[in-house]
Subunit: 400 residues, 2 copies
């Protein structure tokens, strides 16, 4: 019998308990022993809940119980999760977390502590919910230099973009719908401003380069300025608009960015719809690969956490190395990177040509009084310089 503790009995934490119950037998077969939840840490009590008697309010009870060898952290946020997780690792317990904020901010340090203590710190569920991507990066794509990793990493915004694309609705309306369905939170800032995706691409980039990537340094644009009119243009071009989080190898480092992009149907992420997530990877010998699945939701995310628990239970006494040092990676300035740009302006086609030279003009059904066009591929710097010469720019979306 392997005793574990769950810290945080919210959506994911209760999902972990549920998955361990539902698939008790098959998990036992995989681990070789039964896994039992001994404690659930939460500020609240849960009278009537099957875990009622397992509730503790002080994390030290778990820390000081040598019988507990694995701890699950599903509280979210950097503090107090960081203090609790650090204490557990230092007490010689392995920790699995679904907490992207914690991993993005403290990943390198917690990985180092786990190594020193010969235990494991795993975080499969912190990116892409149920999609296996952390472990594949760490233990499958190890023969490759990863030249690009680009993902649809936020289910809420992907649901919204899909709905705007399919139904021609405005941003505010789909946001209300997403909130009504429980996909978006009351305060949806972290999702719609791209902050959530930003932390996730920071984690993926750290794993790919083996160094610390500070999410604060990643250029991040959300989807709040995307309108039904933009989708009319997208439709006329046979494209969709998606919030992408992307990281590309440039001059021995990486350039990371989060922003809405126009995707054509040849793009591997084109048909990733609704709350689904996907991660596209290009390796120098592997070529293209993609991982697709449920990027959020109680059970898919809990499935990834429990998979970490199973892996750690199979690795007692053995630290699985994760290449992510605390040495900071100097990201390449996004202004040095290139793409084509879709632009809408109130200026005339003649003026657009004068400023941008050779462009492709785009019309959208029922849209008048403005000029839509796609530029040639150019750097962000070059685009900004040219755009400054054009009055009345209503929109700019990069073309992937």
């Amino acid at each position: 019998m392997i005793k574990i503790a769950v810290m945080g009995y919210g959506t994911i934490g209760s999902g972990v308990v549920e998955v361990l119950n539902t698939n008790k037998e098959s998990i036992k077969k995989r681990v070789g022993e039964e896994i039992e939840v001994k404690y659930v840490l939460d500020l609240r009590d849960f009278p009537g809940d099957p875990i009622e008697k397992k509730i503790v309010h002080d994390y030290k009870e778990i820390e000081n119980d040598p019988e507990v060898r694995i701890v699950v952290e599903t509280m979210g946020g950097v503090e107090p999760a960081y203090t609790f997780v650090k204490a557990m690792l230092e007490a010689g317990k392995s920790v699995a977390t679904s907490n992207k904020a914690l991993v993005a901010a403290k990943g390198a340090e917690l990985i180092a502590i786990a190594k020193e203590k010969n235990v494991n710190f795993q975080f499969e569920a912190s990116v892409g919910g149920g999609i296996p991507i952390i472990r594949p990066l760490n233990s499958c794509l190890t023969a490759d230099e990863i030249e690009e990793i680009t993902g649809i990493l936020n289910g809420t915004t992907n649901y919204m973009m899909t709905k705007m694309s399919n139904e021609g609705l405005e941003f505010d309306d789909v946001l209300k719908d997403a909130q009504a369905k429980g996909y978006a939170e009351k305060d949806p800032t972290a999702d719609i401003e791209g902050y959530d995706a930003c932390r996730k691409i920071a984690i993926l980039t750290s794993l790919v380069c083996g160094q610390q990537v500070n999410f604060e340094e990643i250029h991040t644009e959300g989807i709040t300025k995307i309108s039904a009119t933009d989708f009319k243009y997208a439709k006329s071009m046979g494209k969709v608009i998606k919030l992408l989080a992307t990281s590309k190898k440039v001059d021995g480092s990486y350039c990371a960015m989060v922003a809405p992009y126009l995707l054509s149907c040849e793009h591997p992420l084109y048909s990733v719809n609704d709350v689904f997530n996907a991660v596209f990877v290009h390796g120098n010998v592997l070529g293209d690969a993609m991982f697709y699945g449920s990027g959020a939701g109680k059970l898919p995310t809990a499935s990834a956490v429990v998979a970490d628990v199973v892996d750690m239970a199979k690795h007692f006494g053995k630290n699985i190395p994760i290449l992510w040092s605390s040495k900071k990676l100097e990201l390449v300035d996004y202004k040095k990177t290139s793409s084509a740009f879709f632009v809408r302006t109130t200026e005339s086609e003649a003026k657009v040509k004068e400023v941008f030279g050779d462009v492709t003009f785009v019309k959208a059904e029922g849209v008048t009084g403005e000029t839509g066009f796609i530029t040639k591929v150019m750097t962000e710097e070059e685009y900004e310089e040219k755009a400054a010469k054009l009055e009345g720019i209503k929109q700019m979306i990069r073309v992937a």
Copy 2:
């Protein structure tokens, strides 16, 4: 310095040497030590090749050299690969193989020997080329009961199906084209009859259920009877035809099958084209997931082999458990499973209705003198019974 040996210096074997050279530095960073190829086993000599002096013709030279701790097997076929691999494992060396024939036939036994000797036997490249799927199944999706695993597992036939779909060509013409491009072998039987995909789904099913699945018992249909006319019907229905290898949980066991299927655009494998492979997985808590990438080719496949080498180098002295016992799984008879069936017959619509009842008739551009229709969902048995009452059936393709 970790010394390894490569057995078989064909396409994949030489790819392994190339990948180890190309990504020497990043691999060294991941493993913590440099990996050096000490021997290459082949019947041939390779004068002028950089590995010329590493060539040995007798596998015992490798077996008896305690310095070699990891051996790569890229010879293909069951014998002599089986004898060689078994000897290496028994000599306490870990083995990575790309050989699906070997793994399908002897996987359970070789996994057991590796466990006994506290080394590892890994075979990521045996299914899906460069796509990580074996390790994700074994170490990521471990919290789930896998209810379905369905893949496009053969790049040659997927290339052919894509070309027939896009260009309206006949089977024989695309086969010649695939052979000219080097995608299909001179004797293409293993690919076009579905034997290759059959071995791969046997391996995946074994990993999913943890027992031995005999590939000989999997109902397997190839693509040789698929014609340009079938694709005309597919087009008129907005569907594509793909060779799928599928395994579904039924009554506590699995029903596995290889056959061409009609897929609509909502199917996750619909847009997997050309030589790409993909594996769709449905877990009881994870929901849907998909893994996509280069299913064949020298470097992608070698990338997967080298990833095994890296993993094994990180696990010296520690057997990574793989749940695949020699206990045989009694597959569910495919005749008990259900689907809708697309059928072409020379009989009249009236006769079709008389036999099959409520069906959906389908027309295809320029096709006359026959009746195309899709049945309701029914078991294979039921279909066969009804089909026996209909003269002149020209084609039957299942609808996924």
